[in-house]
Amino acid sequence: MAIGFFVYKSDEVSPTDSPRLAKYAFKYGLDLNGGTELTYRADVSKIKSGDVGGAMSSLRDVIERRVNLFGVSEPIVQVENPGVVSGGVDHRLLVELPGVTDIQEAVALIGKTPQLEFRLLRSEAKNFTGEELKNKTVDEVFAPTGLDGQYLERADLQFTNGGGAQLAGQPIVAITFNSEGRDLFAKITREHKGEVLAIFLDGQVISSPVIQDEILDGKAVISGGFTPDEAKALVRDLNYGALPVPIELISTQTIGASLGQDAKTAGVKAGVVGFALIVAFLILWYRLPGIVASLSLIIYIILSLAVFKLIPVTFTAAGIAGFILSIGMAVDANILIFERTKEELKRGKSVHDSLHEGFSRAWLSIRDSNISSIITAIILFWLGTSAIKGFALTLGLGVIISMFTAITISRTFLFAIAPNPPTGREGQGRVSKFLFSNGLHF
């Protein structure tokens, strides 16, 4: 009971602005909050098969960076690779932008191919204060050199061998330009020794080394405090920033916020009314066990909601439907137990024994029948788009939790309430038999 109460409280508090608990506010899917979902097909035909995973992962990072530039709160960028598990044949990128309804701009921004640029820090920039720097554009601080991703041939991960003042074994990124790049690079390094040459990926500085000397062989080394993972990521980004994977928009979905809001309120209303009706039915038909079942149902709902918050499960319109369905099914386990108990009562057992029998016999049925629902939920999860996944999750989790609450909580309540057996005759009183039997027969 303590858990139930605690869960209830945490549910109450999180909608308000307590920041720590606000993290646990419900997550709503696009069809309830409004927003856009874009699906791109990545053309990996020109990439060696071993590199595809890295390419997709790089693509994801780049796109995510761009989406973040767009100022969207909590965007989701995901790679979907083909295979038996995901059931597709293409490499795909899924982009979810909550609250964004102008898809034209979003698509334009995303559709650009990733950009690698080398820029020199302008001499005036040294004189800018920290405050001023924040407000300056990239162009004002860094001058373009004309050297960009199209000249890069490849980037490699290497480790220093400890000459001079360097420690050995530090990760560095070695880049190689193609022949035109080499010439351009030589010119830049010759003319700007001692200056900072910043490397930009999509408008963000990823490294800003100082030019030490003229470089004629078209090779450069970017060093400076990378962890091995950072260096690996940079190599990957450079290689694929320079070789973008072409992407093609294959599906878009936009829901306006007002439509989403309507769906949300409607769903909640349906849930509340449905619940109320079920409780009414339970109490009327099953009387005292009905009250117990209703209590157990309330706890089930609170527990489920808490689990949905913690995981977190994103609610879609279908997801709410799934939850409502699972409320209906949650009662099932309780009904099974009660019917069984009623039968045992008819056979003349005491209330306590009937309950006992009811629970143990019913458990097998409950377990088997709920497993089938779980199987369906798993397959639905595999099949679906994010909307369907929401349904599968709420249904699947709901079923599992309902099994739990029916067995543990109902059982605890009923045994607590049931009159004790040792005293024999009292337990067979007509009143308690009445309370525990059901329906309209007396």
Partner: protein, 298 residues
């Protein structure tokens, strides 16, 4: 026993419904939504009143959209269905809806799917349905593996398949019929509802079979299999009806009060729950008896 004794009637009823549903499928075809067909759907709403369709169509005709369908929806909305369009094209299309600056058209939702995506999804959906049915049958055969007399355990699985097929075909047929008159499409949500029905229907069936298994174990040797099944059905009848009733209540609330987007979904589930309960009580269990009698004759 009533149910078992009159099983011929119930089988006939089921058969009629199934044949009817199949006929409806051929007659009206499957009205696939853009989830499966590809294409785009744009819903536009107006604040005060809705301009006439002809004016909008005149502008749309100039946009080389090919065939398109413009339907009014509710009091203030239009729904446009056409081939899949790029976001740039969508801007052009939207401008066709802007007739009066004082009464702007607001985009409510926009879905666009390339045809390849659509057909892939269709295949995936069909595979999903087949897999669910297979898994469930395997599961039941496994769960009832120890109950090999007098009916082999795989026959429980078989009876389940028939019940499940019944549960898939009849709601589909009803939905096609209903949507023919009321509008409605076969989309991903519909398939989801079907799969949910399959999952639920087995619930019911298992409860009855479970009782049969238990009665066989405890069993009165003098009781014929027919009687055992009959008793099991009677014993579980109350529980089946009650559970279905609670789910029915929940779904009815969803249908009447839930949003537009889940209305069709709730409808299919409602039909499915009825069909599922019916199939468990009136089809699956009597089928067991028939199978046993057939096997005796062999």
């Amino acid at each position: 026993m009533f149910i078992i004794n009159h099983r011929k009637i119930f089988f006939t009823l089921s058969a009629v419904l199934i044949i009817g549903s199949i006929l409806v499928m051929f007659l009206y075809g499957f009205n696939f939504g853009i989830d499966f067909k590809g294409g785009s759907l744009l819903e536009v709403s107006y604040a005060t009143n809705r301009p006439a369709a002809e004016g909008i169509k005149a502008d749309l005709d100039n946009l080389s959209l090919g065939t398109y369908i413009l339907t009014p929806s509710g009091d203030l909305n239009y729904i446009l269905k056409t081939r899949d369009i790029s976001p740039d094209e969508k801007v052009l299309v939207l401008s066709a809806f802007q007739k009066d600056p004082a009464n702007p058209a607001k985009e409510e939702r926009f879905n666009s799917l390339g045809p390849v995506v659509g057909s892939q999804l269709k295949t995936k959906a069909m595979i999903a349905i087949v897999i669910v049915i297979l898994c469930i049958v395997l599961f039941i055969t496994f769960a009832f593996r120890k109950v090999s007399t007098p009916v082999a355990s795989w026959k429980y699985g078989f009876a389940t398949i028939v019940a499940l097929a019944h549960d898939v075909i009849i709601p589909t047929g009803v939905f096609i019929l209903w949507s023919h008159f009321r509008g409605g499409e076969i989309d991903l949500l519909f398939v989801t509802a079907l799969l949910a029905i399959l999952g639920y229907s087995v619930h019911d069936t298992i409860v009855v079979f479970d009782r049969v298994r238990e009665n066989l174990k405890v069993g009165n040797r003098k009781e014929s299999f027919e009687q055992t099944v009959g008793n099991s059905v009677t014993q579980t009848f109350g529980r089946s009806i009650n559970t279905s009733l609670t789910i029915f209540i929940a779904l009815a609330a969803l249908y009447f009060l839930g949003g537009e987007s889940t209305r069709d979904f709730a409808f299919v589930l409602l039909i499915g729950v009825i069909a599922g309960t019916y199939s468990s009580i009136f089809v699956a269990s009597p089928l067991l008896v028939t199978l046993e009698k057939m096997q005796k004759k062999v």
